[in-house]
């Protein structure tokens, strides 16, 4: 279980410009769908964008605060 605020703070450590939308998929605040928009994704393929996000959220994923995560990663121009 993690708050939207804390989850977003983890992402901002690695992607300071990111606009993050968090959806709680199960009502238990541990299964999330997130959309991350950041221009730091520019020039990176989808898998590397996801690796950046997994890296940023490594701690709460390892300790179980985040159990499941669905990711959408985009740049501000929608690519």
């Amino acid at each position: 279980m993690i708050t939207t605020h804390t989850l977003t703070a983890y992402l901002h450590k690695v992607l300071p410009d990111a606009v993050v939308s968090v959806t709680d998929r199960t009502g238990t605040m541990d299964h999330f769908s997130i959309r991350v928009v950041s221009d730091l994704f520019k020039g990176k393929n989808l898998m590397d964008r996801h690796r950046l996000i997994y890296g940023a959220l490594g701690e709460p994923m390892k300790d179980g605060r985040i159990h499941a995560l669905e990711i959408k990663a985009e740049t501000t121009d929608g690519s």
Binding site: H50, R51, E70
Partner: protein, 108 residues
């Protein structure tokens, strides 16, 4: 030097054109994402294999290292790593999956 576990994984990747490392079995997927991934490939009608990575933590660790990808399921198509449905869904929208699978099963 590749570890025996890596060799085992490489052999499995080679053996199955579509391979999912997931949680549970086809009859009883233990995770929503594993089920979603099966449903993703069910649409296309090509055979796929699901290998349950839950009972083998050392193998999960080896897989994570090989792919630099921390989560299950992990999908391999024709020996290539394609992440999970977060990656496959956008590829599908761009029409990239059908030709990829066709090529894998015809020429691979």
């Amino acid at each position: 030097m590749a570890s025996p576990l890596e060799d085992e994984i490489q052999a499995e990747i080679k053996q199955h054109k579509i391979l999912i490392y997931g949680k549970g079995t086809k009859a009883m997927p233990m995770c929503g994402f594993t089920r979603e991934t099966m449903q993703f490939f069910d649409k296309y009608g090509y055979p796929y294999e699901l290998i349950d990575a839950l009972p083998n933590p050392a193998k999960r660790e080896a897989l994570t290292k090989m792919t630099n990808w921390p989560t299950l399921p992990k999908v391999f198509i024709n020996g290539q790593f394609y992440g999970d449905t977060d990656i496959l869904d956008p590829m599908e929208k761009k029409g990239e999956i059908e030709p990829l699978l066709k090529d894998a099963f015809q020429n691979g």
